[in-house]
């Protein structure tokens, strides 16, 4: 018989390393043709950090996204970025990029103010346009501004670094501020349990994530969906067999993971409760995406068949064993 159930799982996740300094840095240079190079230590492992860094630099400078090229994770040319881990790069390298772009922008604004003959705080650079607030007659395009820099022998260059505001944890009771900000999430899932075969099918996942501020909405959704795939595997599928220190199933044929065909309908919801210390309010989502999935599935299995599993993975064998135990 097939039985449906629903379950909820919540999580929190401190962004960055636990109670330790974990800085990152960036360099930003605006070239004479208006294109921009950002040198960032942060390794993009497919999640899209270089895209995020380009968006942050472009927004901060007031240029187009396409104008920014990111060179990442090359110790010969990029500054320290720390690990792409702990869901930290959007928050930490993102802040470093923001700082570096602000330093470069200050030079742009100084020159623009001088060229317009106004105060610096009257100058605005947005979407590749340079203009004076409240005076439409005074504006120039970005290339003209770069020409003004050339005339004055100025280079629009900036460096920035950021280290989250944490404290080390007390060795006795672990009190302290281990993280500068936290991400939060809630997943609600629907499962269907086949009581004859023990198969658990995850049908739907509603996944709401507080990311502070999404830098790239579609990439946040992609992270959530990828996290769901891994979370389902963690809960009901992936089973590493260990015998006398040896992994007995070291390959895809025996260690099963979900494929695209196994994915349920996922409804990602982006919640934006910005943090005052993040780049434009952003926190992180890489690891949070995965965390609520397994507990929500376990709670849904309980709702479906009345068995509260406390061990993962809940394989079909374990379901059948538990159901027959329950009957006896």
């Amino acid at each position: 018989m097939k039985k449906k159930g629903t379950g909820i799982g919540c999580m929190w996740y401190g962004i960055g390393n636990t109670g330790l300094p974990n800085p990152a840095a960036a360099f930003v240079e605006v070239h004479s043709d208006g294109s921009v190079t950002a040198l960032v230590g942060c390794a993009d492992i497919g999640q899209g950090s270089s895209t995020v860094m380009a968006q942050i630099v472009a927004e901060t400078l007031g240029v187009k996204y396409e104008a920014v090229n990111v060179t990442a994770a090359d110790t010969g040319v990029t500054p320290e970025g720390g690990a792409t881990s702990a869901s930290r790069q959007t928050y930490i390298s993102g802040n470093a990029c923001c700082e570096a772009a602000k330093v470069a922008k200050k030079i742009l604004v100084e020159v623009a103010a001088d060229a317009f003959g106004v105060e610096q705080d009257e100058v605005e650079i947005k979407n590749n346009n340079v203009f004076v607030k409240n005076d439409e007659s005074k504006q120039m395009d970005f290339l003209t501004l770069m020409g003004e820099l050339k005339k004055r022998g100025k280079i629009a260059l900036g460096s920035g670094s950021f280290n989250p505001d944490t404290t080390s944890l007390d060795p006795v009771d672990m009190h302290g501020n281990p993280y500068a900000c936290y991400a939060f999430a809630t997943h609600i899932v629907e499962v269907e349990v086949d009581t004859d075969t023990g198969q658990v099918d995850v049908l739907k996942i509603v996944a709401a994530h507080d990311v502070g501020q999404a830098i790239n909405a579609q990439m946040v959704e992609a992270q959530i969906e990828g996290g769901c795939a891994m979370g389902i595997g963690f809960a009901v599928l992936e089973e590493l067999e260990l015998e006398k220190g040896a992994i007995k199933n070291p390959g895809f044929s025996k260690y099963l993971i979900n494929t695209a065909m196994d994915m349920p309908e996922i409804y990602p919801i982006i919640v934006e409760d910005p943090t005052s210390t993040g780049p434009f309010g952003a926190k992180g989502v890489g690891e949070p995406a995965l965390i609520p999935v397994a507990p929500a599935i376990l709670n849904a299995i309980y709702d479906a068949i009345g068995v509260r599993f406390t061990e993962v993975p809940v394989t079909p064998r374990k379901i059948i064993e538990a159901l027959s135990e329950k009957q006896n």
């Binding site: 919540c10 501020n177 809630t186 609600i188 595997g233 963690f234 309908e265 919640v271 709702d303 406390t310």
Partner: protein, 424 residues
């Protein structure tokens, strides 16, 4: 929300075109003229004293250019993200299946693989330590140093013992998780090239700056003479934070003066890369009849395997998170993580929090049921809000979106999951 031009917009990913067209250069795609292919001889037993590695027959195989053991390491022979406890090439004891014993560079991949079979390893096998119980016995052999305890830590807030006395409802459960493998699509790979005094390493990695430091120490070179360039990387999930091929290819290139490439096969990748820690969590939650949680106690034990890797970070993070996103005035968390001769456990998407969440969310539902509240109601009642303090007594000042995520998820679920009128 702010009035942004680019922030929040789903602009085209910088790497999308190269990946769709297949032009992205992963480490395995990188080719140099005169390049050699490397391979690694690995241990097949979990625990032994290494007596001798005889490479003479392997060296004599036509097409083999270099075979190296620990004796050839010019700098330090211990690497590791937090604790330097892993040998680049074993020099004393074998501590797990998959430990690197010798490395080969040859004209072709096939010759390199063939040479591995000719390497003669002499060792004295030891009874391996394969469980936490065995590791903690006083008389047990020590995997490293003087104790098998990687870390034992305590987090204490308020007084849980007193608080449990005031609780109307107490729920106790033991949760267990298993090892999990990252299964990134691209196995570990890299190419090293030693030229004009600069060691360049292209590799699949999550942290090139860390890799630079490890390669520099292994070769006894200054960091500014080592250049690590992250190749396009096909996923990591924490499994590419540890050193994989970097030090081996750098050593082989240093000795041969030629570019050297290693592409790990899936089996070696799975045996050697870190795994998600299996954690046992004994948890006790206490609440008043109205659902207000007063006390939370958890005891965590885990097997970190043969090397520390990111183990200490997993301990700290699991402990600081295992009470969940809830306001709880009295908390006590104890954790013990031990070394064994099992596979190395390390970073895997969440650093112990995926395990911890299984415990805290299982407890919330069990508690709700015993009290007769809905799972959603009990979460909303206890969820952290601005101004609350965490178990480490950190005051939360802004950006605490847990309540909003619960409300938004429930709202959407009413539309797509829950039957009409039903809110679980």
């Amino acid at each position: 929300m702010g009035n942004f031009n680019i922030i929040g917009k789903s602009v085209e990913k910088k790497d999308s075109l190269s990946k769709v067209l297949g032009t992205a250069q992963f480490a395995a795609d990188i080719e140099f003229e005169n390049m050699l292919y490397g391979a690694v001889k690995r241990s097949e037993v979990p625990s032994a004293i290494l007596k001798n590695v005889d490479v003479s027959k392997a060296k004599a195989l036509p097409g083999v250019v270099s075979v190296l053991t620990y004796k050839d390491i010019t700098g330090g022979n211990r690497i590791g993200i937090i604790i330097k406890d892993e040998p680049v090439l074993v020099d004393d004891n074998i501590r797990r299946i998959g430990d690197a014993l010798a490395i080969v560079a040859a004209e072709t991949k096939e010759i390199a693989e063939e040479a591995l079979k000719l390497i003669e390893v002499e060792y004295e096998e030891l009874e391996p330590i394969l469980s936490i119980e065995d590791a903690l016995k006083e008389e047990s052999r020590k995997v490293h140093g003087k104790t098998n305890v990687l870390q034992e830590k305590h987090l204490i807030k308020g007084d849980v013992d007193e608080a449990f006395k005031e609780c109307d409802i107490i729920v106790e459960n033991t949760y267990k998780t298993n090892y999990v493998a990252h299964m990134f699509i691209e196995p570990e790979a890299g190419v090293a090239k030693y030229e004009n005094g600069i060691m360049s390493v292209w590799c699949s990695t999550q942290n090139p700056h860390f890799d630079r430091g490890e390669v520099a120490r292994t070769l006894n070179m200054p960091q500014n003479k080592v250049r690590v360039i992250q190749a396009v990387t096909g996923g990591g999930f924490g499994g590419k934070l540890d050193i994989s091929v970097q030090c081996h290819i750098a050593l082989l290139s240093y000795y041969t003066g030629r570019p050297v490439k290693i592409v790990t096969n899936r089996e070696d990748s799975m045996k050697v890369s870190s795994k998600r820690h299996p954690i046992e969590m004994k948890v006790k939650t206490g609440a008043k009849k109205d659902g207000t949680i007063l006390a939370y106690e958890a005891k965590l034990t885990s097997d970190t395997g043969a090397y520390a890797s990111y183990g200490p970070a997993v301990v700290a993070r699991a402990m600081t998170h295992i009470s969940g996103p809830y306001r709880i005035p009295n908390v006590r968390i104890d954790a013990t993580f031990v070394y064994t001769n099992n596979p190395m456990a390390g970073a895997y998407r969440g650093f112990g929090v995926p395990q911890a969440a299984i415990a805290h969310e299982g407890q919330m539902d069990a508690l709700a049921e015993k009290i007769g509240m809905s799972p959603i109601e009990i979460r909303l009642k206890n969820a952290l809000r601005v101004g609350d303090c965490t178990p480490t007594n950190q005051k939360l000042n802004d950006s605490i979106g847990i309540v909003e995520t619960i409300e938004k998820a429930v709202e959407k679920s009413k539309e797509v999951i829950f039957n009409e009128g039903e809110v679980k």
